[in-house]
Amino acid sequence: MTAPLDVPESASQAAPEAVVAGSDAKAIEGRSLGQIAWRRLRRDRVAMAGAIVIIFLMLVAIFAPLLVSWFGHDPLEYHEELTDIGTQAPIGPWGGITSEFLFGVEPVNGRDIFSRVVYGARISLLIAFLATLLSVVIGTTLGVIAGYFGGWVDTLIGRAMDVFLAFPLLVFALALAGVVPDQAFGLSGDTLRVTLLIFIIGFFNWPYLGRIIRGQTLSLREREFVDAAKSLGARGPYIIFRELLPNLIAPILIYATLLIPSNILFEAALSFLGVGVRPPTPTWGGMLSDAARFYTIPHFMIFPGLAIFITVLAFNLFGDGLRDALDPRGNR
């Protein structure tokens, strides 16, 4: 994978020293798998940088209104006097960047790009997180059921996954997002669009996770501790929740973290194609789509583009680090 090979190496070499160093202070203490993983993760600087960026982005999204009131303007407010009446480009160098407008203003109507990027983070992260959650819930449930029960249940779920994986997702998403009316399921406006996007993105991404969970379950089910539990009279639900799921948390966490960036990209793509959240609500993909027409004013494209790039990179780096930490044998 993308993590440099020598980093985990040095981490594993460092581990015994740490134990030795710590042995003076305390008697040797058993460490849980979680603690070991956390130590490994903490030493992976790249992953930690990713984590810090993610936390920063989440704070930005949560405190968007506050940030905008301090450093920006209402994301929907027009500042037409800041754009040229002829070229429609922002007046001033660098796309109109000033201390008032940190990222400059949009062409034509002069909306504050900083505020729009900040508010865009809310939509992107919200959709990506909830869609991932939906995928994880469906994927884990069906994966475990398929893996544990096997037989015709496995066949049925397995074929369903094949069908979903073979689905031309983008085409279907475009069609579905296009035909759903503006009021449905008792929702309307942005709430409906966000819910719809979460559903589309989440519902069609579960088989990736589902397959991995099924595979893990298949191998776990044959392990001695499951046999032991069975011989003690444990039944299906107990084995699944007490014996299998705790051992599945690592792959679930890893793949959920890696699914988030792909969901962010997918949401941006849908918004770019005009079937995402409706304007004027700011989204990164929608801003990019608006900017494409004005490609000779690059700053308009740079900020939402950078936001997507940094977010996706941070999640990917963190996800890779997490995988190395939780599953040191994998992909080495």
Binding site: E80, G86, Q88, D182, P279
Partner: protein
């Protein structure tokens, strides 16, 4: 047609209005001035020779004169075909004049305006040397009747002429007699019989449907691959989808054609070129003219406008097209005129002006009729300081309507049209000031009128109170502009362009206009209709559209005629 009457120079049009007085002399060759081809001739010359290079961002709907409807195609077809009449190749309003082309004179109408007779010039030949007769024109009219084979062209002749019952066009009703519609008593005479009187028939006769087609050379849908020329140029090479080359037609006799200077020796056209690429090639001088007549794109604006040398090579005429918003009275509470007026008062027209492209995209207009058409008058019913909208008056109107706190409704626009999206967003912002909450509803432009905004049942069901709209004229008579968007009797189940104008007085007046022979009175009645429509606030005009054209390098005799609303391709030449 007394079209000179519509030359009234509007007060609000910097493009045409102001440049007209400067039209005393022509621009000297070499010096570049912005708007040098608007209302006057840029670099006048009668020197022949050279190769004119053109590029098209898309492709023709068809090169077949019986199967084409794009404005630029109607302009361009005159290079290789001669219709009965044509618009004079002249700058500005002069270009609105109809002059005889294949015919000796404009049409002679019977007293009831139901029969129109044209005499053909003698000595006009096809590119293969055979003489053009009235039968070739009649055949061209009969073949374009078949809209399965030729779906793109205008349908005027199918609707206007008195075709025999069950007639299916020249291909399916091969030897059928259609003399009830088109008669050719001798080789030089052609007579058209109309179902109903139509005083503007000459305008139809300048369209390429009347360009003669030799029956034995007609290959139906494939005719566009080799159109038999009657004009000064013929096809040398034609690769549909890539481009084509026109060379001089040695059978074209200038003695029979007083209208075409035919300056270049060759015309090379490339099709399907990326729009930004075309703009860049125009700037570098690699291409002379962008044939599609859409003007340069957003991406090129920041490059062209701030650079005086490049800006001097642009022309920015006002077109016969109005961008407006339909306020639809079928949707409550817009059934109340005061609620509609509240929208007209509250809208920030200056912001809409920016949305439609600002300075180079149009001029703020208060009337539906475009400034260069007969009957145009500014209508100052909803004036406001700096055109920013009048919040107080809007609130007062809302109170009268019984919705003092505003209301919610939806606004439709065409997804692909970024300017219309910007206009819808602008309205959303400015109407919010008085509590009118708009939800944006984008629809695909292909089906905008067929399935969405132009379908009354859909509009009512989905409560589309406002729809972004725009209309341009087919021919430069106000009837051709206004009738389609104001006559409520034409409203069908779907596919309407008139989304909101249902005023019985307007319908009545349109009937009076049809019967009125005096052009000045017709113009006056159109002004009244315009006023009624704006007063009822069923239409809110935003801007009279302008396009920003870029001249390539080394062009001569270039001008924009009001009839083509882009560079006139018949007049233009190139420097050697």
């Amino acid at each position: 047609m007394a079209l000179a009457a519509c030359a009234g120079s509007p007060t609000q049009t910097p493009g045409q209005g102001q440049s007209a007085p400067a039209a005393t002399g022509a621009t000297a060759g070499g010096t570049e001035v912005a708007d040098a081809a608007v209302g006057k001739i840029y670099n006048p010359s009668d020197k022949k020779g050279g190769t004119l290079k053109m590029a098209n961002t898309a492709d023709w709907d068809s090169l077949d004169p019986g199967n084409t409807y794009y404005g630029y195609s109607l302009n361009f077809a005159r290079l290789y075909g001669r219709a009965l009449l044509m618009f004079k190749a002249a700058p500005g309003t002069d270009g609105n004049t109809l002059v005889p082309d294949l015919a000796e004179s404009v049409g002679k109408a019977s007293d009831d305006a139901k029969t129109w007779t044209y005499k053909l010039r003698k000595g006009v030949k096809f590119e293969d040397g055979t003489e053009v007769t009235s039968k070739d024109v009649a055949y061209a009219v009969a073949r374009q009747f078949d809209k399965e084979i030729h779906p793109n062209g205008p349908t005027y002749l199918n609707a206007l002429l008195d075709w025999p019952k069950g007639y299916k066009g020249a291909y399916k009703s091969k030897d059928a007699d259609f003399s009830s519609a088109v008669e050719t008593p001798d080789d030089q005479t052609i007579i058209f019989h109309l179902k109903e009187p139509f005083g503007l028939f000459d305008y139809i006769m300048q369209m390429p449907m009347t360009m003669p087609v030799p029956k034995d050379k007609d290959t139906g849908t494939k005719y566009q691959e080799h159109v038999i020329s009657t004009g000064p140029y013929k096809f040398e090479k034609n690769e549909i989808g890539k481009g084509f080359t026109l060379v001089r037609n040695d059978q074209w006799d200038p003695a029979t054609d007083p209208n075409r200077p035919a300056l270049p020796d060759r015309i090379e056209v490339q099709t399907g070129v990326n729009a930004d690429d075309v703009d860049n090639r125009l700037i570098s001088g690699d291409v002379h003219i962008a044939v599609d007549g859409l003007g340069i794109g957003n991406a090129a604006l920041p490059k062209v406008l701030p650079d005086p040398a490049l800006k001097a090579r642009t022309d920015n005429p006002v077109q016969q097209r109005t961008w407006y918003t339909s306020i639809i009275p079928d949707v409550a509470p817009l059934d109340n005129v005061e609620c509609r007026r509240a929208i007209a008062f509250a809208a920030d027209r200056n912001s809409l002006y920016r949305a439609y492209g600002g300075e180079t995209g149009g001029v703020i207009t208060t009337s539906l009729i475009p400034p260069s058409m007969a009957g145009y008058k500014p209508i100052d019913l909803y004036k406001s300081e700096g055109d920013k909208g009048d919040v107080e008056k809007a609130k007062a109107a809302l109170a009268k309507c019984g919705q003092p706190n505003g209301f919610e409704t939806n606004i439709a626009y065409r997804t692909e049209r970024t300017k219309e999206k910007a206009a819808a967003e602008s309205l959303q912002q400015s109407l919010a000031r008085v509590g009118i909450k708009l939800t944006l509803k984008p629809y695909p432009q292909d089906d905008y009128f067929a399935l969405y905004a132009g379908k009354p049942s859909y509009v009512k069901e989905n409560k589309i109170g406002l729809a972004i709209n725009g209309w341009g004229s087919d021919y430069p008579d106000t009837y051709g502009f206004m009738q389609a968007i104001t006559d409520s009797r034409d409203i069908r189940d779907a596919g309407n362009y008139n989304l909101s104008v249902k005023i019985p007085e307007v319908d009545k007046m349109i009937d009076q206009i049809k019967a009125e022979p005096d052009a000045a009175k017709r113009a006056d009645m159109w002004s009244q209709i315009d006023h009624m429509v704006i007063d009822q606030a069923v239409v809110m005009p935003s801007v009279a559209s302008k396009a920003l054209y870029m001249r390539g390098k080394g062009l001569t005799n270039l001008f924009i005629s009001d009839s083509q609303q882009m560079y006139d391709y018949v007049g233009v030449g190139v420097q050697q």
